[in-house]
């Protein structure tokens, strides 16, 4: 398809039509992103179930947290929260870079920074675990605390794996471009999801 921009538009429309009809069985990005968001809906239900269980346990337990449970420090998780929330903005810059100018280099940089921030968050969580005055089986409060934060930490870890995969793949020139960047987009959506879950978790566990 050569010629003027008008021709190019025609070609684009023709291409879109082929994607819509003749090749609608292949996995085109729209489909994958939609599928990924549906997956995250399912993931939200997992967390929703655990959150509701948390409140149910809280309601049936006479004292919450039970007598003698060490108070949760707010300092470290507070810093962790700030790191995680800001990392959402960082990863969004990667997405913007690839979408607006196809700048893979910039996207790689922003992804690397997000990985560093996510890793810091996880390190902070491990540090917190090591310095808490209660263990997994101390009481119901402690168990729910470790389970909820642990489940979230697992999701952060998976996010790190996803971002590393994107970094690994983007070493091939042209793997991600202005028009083809599902991996970057999905990872970003996932990371925002993990972030939102953490905000809810932080509210429930530490502040409420």
């Amino acid at each position: 398809m050569q010629g003027s921009t008008a021709d190019q538009n025609q070609a684009d429309i023709a291409y879109a039509a082929t994607v819509e009809t003749a090749e609608h069985h292949s996995e085109h990005p729209d489909l994958r992103l939609f599928g990924f968001i549906v997956f995250l809906v399912s993931e939200s239900m997992l967390f929703l179930g655990l959150f509701v269980a948390y409140f149910a346990f809280r309601v049936v337990t006479p004292e919450w947290p039970p007598e003698g449970t060490e108070e949760l420090e707010l300092m470290l998780p507070g810093i962790n929260t700030i790191i995680l929330i800001s990392s959402s903005f960082v990863i969004h810059k990667a997405d913007t870079a690839i979408k607006q100018s196809g700048d893979v280099k910039a996207a790689r940089l922003w992804f690397a920074i997000t990985i560093a921030m996510g890793a810091t968050f996880l390190a902070g969580q491990v540090y917190e675990y090591n310095h808490l005055g209660f263990g997994l089986t101390t009481n119901l409060f402690a168990s729910t605390f470790y389970l909820l934060t642990g489940f979230h930490g697992l999701h952060v870890f998976v996010g790190l794996l996803l971002m590393s995969t994107v970094l690994w793949r983007s070493r091939v020139p042209g793997h991600y471009s202005e028009t083809s960047h599902f991996g970057i987009e999905a990872t970003e959506v996932y990371w925002h999801f993990v972030d939102v879950i953490w905000i809810v978790l932080f509210l429930i566990l530490y502040l409420l």
Partner: protein, 554 residues
């Protein structure tokens, strides 16, 4: 049927059987893989049921030990639910039919589809292997604290198995949702979709929303069992009722996951064999959505005797009874569809009509147990066992059989033997009713379920039930022999043996790898039987393949 063997039939290759043992991403192969694997587990689960019934033939526990009895009924239910009905209806029929019905070449995510299937065989072997260490014995509900006290190794395997099968189920649900919403041919709106696709849409939404909560419950239970936390153990301050809420938040919708696709199959089968347009297309379609929504908010009706407060019981009682409305809409629509039709009483239709009648029995006893006072009377008695088997066997399994008879020609390119099909139907129908009808009476008289020994006054009816179960078990023999023989050497089927109007009948039997050579165009609504258009449509599907027709014109 066989008389319509056009010469072009020889052109169509029957899929080589080795294909079905390969890691294929073709939705048709995966669908049949699901169907065959699940059927094997149906036979295994049925064998366990026969052991249970044999034990119950006499009041004393003389055939198996009490502990063994607990293991048998636990594994029977687990296998039937997680390895037979759900994979067959969603994975089997859904995979095979949905892309064909909406004119797509495959599912939205073919690899994910294959992964979802291939989780099942290793997991099911794992579950069966738990028999070597003593399988889970706390019932398929695995209520703590009982489940934390008996057969720990088996329970751990059970938990792992349920999580894995749940993952597979979520993957499949996701795939169907995206496929149905995004992959229809451009000319097909949601309101032009065959009703089976509507049913699968509602089912997939349930799988996506409800299953993760079960996984959450299983993780907590697993921690209690293996790590020593006390989420559900009252001895350590936990609350077993929370488990029941989480468990039923999945497992009540699960009964709709097990019945909605069967509703869909029946909505396809009845109009074809009655040669009449379906009555109330939109009512049937939207009632599926209504059922799946209502199904999500009624779980606590399983917990009327668990100390649920009165105001909550009232809510769940009313919400549960409301489900009878959309379900009734479906039943009346089916009856109106068949009413005055020119019925073709083939095996598929017989199973289809048996489905409607038997499901009504199960549905009515369902409304009965939905009411709090009645439920308190019959809770954990054989009335509940009768109710659930009328729904799951009289409903889901009859629906599955109807579907198998109806789409066997499309799947294999061969016709099933009708005579043995009818023998199969008669034995199943009679055996089923002899087995489960007396259980209503047993339940009303107060016979508890899940116990190996019972009061001798229940002995007579139990013998009847056991005899019925033997007839039921024997009835699978003609089906298996018929299916295997027909698949290998049955008469070749043409592309549209039942003269159906949905898109899967426009392609050869079995369909080629790419399904459609070019995107099909909707020539006719899926249920416009009895119109001149329908005659043209059927004639076109029975005519030689387009390529051959073009040749002969030249």
């Amino acid at each position: 049927m066989t008389e319509a063997q056009a010469p072009h039939l020889e052109e169509v290759e029957v899929t080589p059987w080795r294909e079905y043992f390969s890691f294929s991403t073709d939705h048709k192969v995966i669908g049949i893989q699901y169907l065959v694997t699940s059927f094997v587990f149906y036979l295994i689960g049925g064998l366990l049921a026969e052991l249970v019934r044999t034990e119950l033939a006499t009041p004393a526990s003389d055939f198996v030990q009490r502990e063994t009895y607990n293991e048998l009924f636990t594994m029977h239910a687990t296998i039937m639910i997680f390895l037979w009905i759900i994979p067959t209806l969603t994975g089997g029929f859904g995979n095979f039919l949905v892309p064909l019905m909406i004119g797509a070449r495959d599912m939205a995510f073919p690899k994910l589809n294959a992964i979802a299937f291939w989780i099942i065989p290793p997991t099911s072997i794992l579950l069966l292997c738990s028999f070597f260490v003593g399988p889970a014995a706390a019932g398929w509900t695995s209520y703590p604290p009982l489940s934390l006290m008996t057969n720990k190794a088996g329970e751990a395997i059970w938990i792992l198995g349920v999580i894995l099968l749940g993952t597979s189920s979520i993957m499949a649900g996701l795939n169907f949702l995206v496929t149905i919403l995004k992959m229809r041919i451009p000319s097909m709106t949601l309101n032009d979709m065959p009703l089976f696709c509507w049913a699968m849409l509602a089912t997939s939404a349930l799988q996506l929303v409800a299953t993760p909560v079960l996984s959450g419950a299983m993780v907590l239970l697993g921690f209690d069992l293996l790590v020593g936390t006390n989420f559900f153990n009252p001895a350590g301050g936990g609350d077993p009722i929370v488990y029941q809420h989480m468990f039923w938040f999945y497992s009540h919708p699960a009964v709709y996951i097990m019945i909605l696709p069967a509703f869909g199959l029946i909505s396809e089968i009845l109009p074809v064999h009655a040669r009449k347009p379906i009555f109330g297309y939109q009512a049937i379609a939207y009632s599926s959505i209504a059922i799946s929504f209502l199904g999500l908010i009624v779980w606590a009706h399983h917990m009327f005797t668990s100390g649920t407060p009165d105001w909550l019981r009232m809510f769940f009682m009313i919400a549960t009874m409301v489900i009878a409305v959309p379900t009734g809409i479906k039943v009346f629509s089916w009856v109106a569809t068949v009413w005055g039709g020119k019925l073709n009483l083939c095996s598929a239709m017989l199973f289809g009509m048996a489905f409607v009648s038997m499901f009504v029995v199960g549905g009515l006893s369902g409304v009965m147990v939905a009411s709090v006072p009645f439920d308190i009377h019959v809770h954990d008695t054989y009335f509940v066992v009768a109710h659930l088997h009328y729904v799951l066997f009289g409903g889901s399994v009859f629906g599955i059989y109807a579907g198998l008879y109806h789409w066997f020609p499309k799947m294999t390119g061969r016709m099933l033997n009708e005579f043995w099909g009818k023998v199969h139907f008669a034995m199943t129908f009679v055996g089923f009713n002899i087995c489960f009808l007396p259980m209503h009476v047993l339940g009303l008289q107060g016979m508890n379920r899940r116990i190996a020994e019972y009061d001798p006054k229940f002995a007579a009816l139990n013998v009847v039930c056991t005899i019925g179960s033997y007839i039921l078990a024997t009835s699978t023999i003609p089906f298996v022999v018929n299916a295997v023989w027909s698949w290998l050497a049955g008469p070749r089927a043409n592309s549209n043996p039942w003269k159906g109007l949905t898109l899967e009948w426009t392609v050869p039997s079995p369909p080629p790898v790419e399904n459609f050579e070019e995107d099909p165009v909707l020539a006719i609504g899926p249920y416009d039987y009895g119109t001149p258009k329908a005659l043209d449509f059927v004639a076109a599907t029975l005519a030689p393949a387009p390529a051959l027709a073009a040749d002969s014109l030249e």
